[in-house]
Each structure stands twice: as structure tokens, then as C-alpha cells.
Symmetry: C2
Subunit: 193 residues, 2 copies
């Protein structure tokens, strides 16, 4: 941020009176420009014993598989947003959804909120941000071709709950991706990559 | 938003290619300025059979009671933010916290995420945004002096769960406050004010 979005004059970083952290301040019109985390909302669409994944047609992670998810828009509920993303990316209508997990990606100022639930029908088709979409049984999940750590962590918890016969609400922290020389421990639920 | 925060030139509203809604666009530097909902995080601090409320020293709702809560900051997890707010507003340290409820306030582009859990000690004191803080048993909750509908809805669910002996994760939608002539139905869990 270089300029005030209200009056167009240059902003500076400074701690406002009564505050304890730097904000972008406009000395011309007096506005304090707060910047806050964004929510990403998505879902695990289920059909019988399969779940839906989308193969990304956009960067980052072009060609990798992910669950439908995207930024929550103004005016939406988190469920609205997750259903919109499922339709945009996979032309999926969800029959119902339950809250499944929240992940903090504090290092990129993002909070992921994921639902799970049955699709209304097994009719799926690639949306604009997907090369293809497909339904996977657990043994066919492309673990090594998943786009994002947060999606891997979501799916690990999902299949663990499913094995136990009961879904609960999960919370977790995702840290930055490890550098290439670090060991990847896909099953490590206590690690927070 | 009137000016581009990147280059300082005027912005205009328009639908970017491949998008489906209006964004603030800068024709000079090409940046699209997305605007997204903010998260408010808070908690229900418990001590034995009491919970903590704060009496607000700021507008809106000066003098009314609320649970400690505030905007999630960049770099925080939702738990970080809720603990920070509990300390800022009531000098409370939480011993532990569990996810309790998410409320959509789509009409103001806010998502509330509330925890519950025991305080580390019953030492509380009014922070800068509180006139006073106090511990309340259920029968002393100042229902008619609560600051926000979302806090009333949080507390209704909290005491309902507590009576049943089991806490679950709740989701709800809050609609704008009713106009003064509308009947208030405090116990109406199916209403979404």
C-alpha cells in the first residue's frame, strides 16, 4: 500500500494512538487502513465412497489436484461461498454440508474453512479453473499430486474420521511449505506444515 | 474506495475478465482491488459455573455487555486472536479453548468465530475498551443489556449445550437488527437476527 484509497495522498506506516501495531495511515484525510486475514472456503464433495477433486488449470500448482475452494466474497455466508466454489470449479451442487475443519495459514494471512457433505448428484464437469474433475476412492487419492498442504491435511483428517465412523470438527495450523531438502511426512498429523 | 492504493490514480468499478462481480479496478497500473469479509474472533471465558462478560467503554453499544472479541489480525491464528482479545478487554488468560460457534454476518461482511474454555485464573480487570468486567452465573446474565445479537445467540447456544451436558460446534446466520417496533424473541433459536 502506497496511497490512500480514500483521498489518493501517500500513506505511511505508523502505530495509531491506542493501538499496538503498524497500520497504513493517511495524514491527509486521517483514515487508518486496517489489513486483515482473508477466508478461503471450500468443501469435500462426497458421492458414495468417493470424493471429488479438481485438477488445477491455473497457477499456482497448475496440474495438481485440490478440493474446490476459494476466497469468501463480501455478502456471502461461509456455506454460500463453499457451494459457489464447488459449482464454479466442478459444476457440483452440494445436497448438504457440515462444518469439517478450520486451518490457520497465519504466514499468508489466510483462514481456511472446509465443509464436507454429499453431492446432489454425481454430475461433475471441469469449471474454468479446472483441467478436469474426478471422483476418487480413498486408495486412489493422488497424495503426491495434491496442490496444497492444507488440502492434504484436510483429507488426512477426513479419511481418519471416516475410518472411525464419526466426523468431528477439526482445527489445525499450517506452516510454510518445507524446503525441498526437508523430509516430507505425509501422515504426520502433529506436524503443521 | 476512490483511488488505487498502489499507484494513487482513480479507480473505477467494473467486472474483470473471467470474473462475475464488480471490483475496484485501476486502469493505470492494472491492479484489481478485491474486498473480502473480515473475521471477528472471541471467546466465552469460563470460571466454575460463571462466564465472563465485558461492559463496553466504546461505541457502538457503549455501556452494554459483550463477550471479548475483535478483528483477527494479520499473522494470527483464530485462537491467537481470541486470546489476545480476552487479554486486551478483560486481562484474562485462557487455560484452554475449544471451537464453539461460527456466525455469518453477511450483511456487514463479517464472520464471527467463537471459542469457549476455562480461564487460567479468576483474575480479571477492565481493559481499555471495557468500563468493567464481571463473572455471571446463568441466572444473572444481563440479557436485555447485551451489546450484539451475535453475542446473545452465542450465549443462548452455550447455556443450551451446557444444560444438555455436551458442547457441540454451532453455525448460524445473523441478520440485521430488527427495527424498534419489531418484536424481539430472545429465545428464538430459529430466528437469525
Amino acid at each position: 500500500m502506497n496511497y490512500c484509497s480514500n483521498c489518493g495522498e501517500p500513506v505511511r506506516l505508523g502505530i495509531p494512538p491506542g493501538d499496538d501495531r503498524n497500520r497504513y495511515l493517511c495524514d491527509h484525510c486521517g483514515i487508518i487502513h486496517y489489513q486483515n486475514p482473508k477466508m478461503v472456503v471450500g468443501c469435500i464433495p462426497e458421492w458414495e465412497d468417493k470424493i471429488l477433486l479438481c485438477r488445477r488449470s491455473i497457477e499456482p500448482q497448475y496440474g495438481k489436484w485440490t478440493l474446490p475452494a476459494g476466497y469468501l466474497e463480501n455478502g456471502e455466508t461461509v456455506a454460500d461461498g463453499a457451494q459457489r466454489e464447488a459449482f464454479e470449479e466442478a459444476r457440483v451442487r452440494m445436497a448438504s454440508m457440515k462444518a469439517f475443519a478450520l486451518f490457520n495459514l497465519a504466514f499468508v494471512n489466510q483462514i481456511y474453512f472446509m465443509f464436507r457433505g454429499p453431492m446432489a448428484a454425481p454430475d461433475v464437469a471441469a469449471g474454468e479453473e479446472s483441467l478436469s474433475v474426478a471422483l476418487f476412492t480413498e486408495d486412489r487419492i493422488p497424495w503426491d499430486e495434491l496442490a496444497f498442504t492444507v488440502m492434504r491435511e484436510t483429507l488426512i483428517r477426513y479419511f481418519q474420521d471416516r475410518k472411525q465412523g464419526a466426523f468431528s470438527f477439526h482445527m489445525g495450523d499450517i506452516a510454510p511449505e518445507p524446503k525441498p531438502f526437508e523430509t516430507r511426512n505425509r501422515a504426520g498429523l502433529n506436524t503443521t506444515r
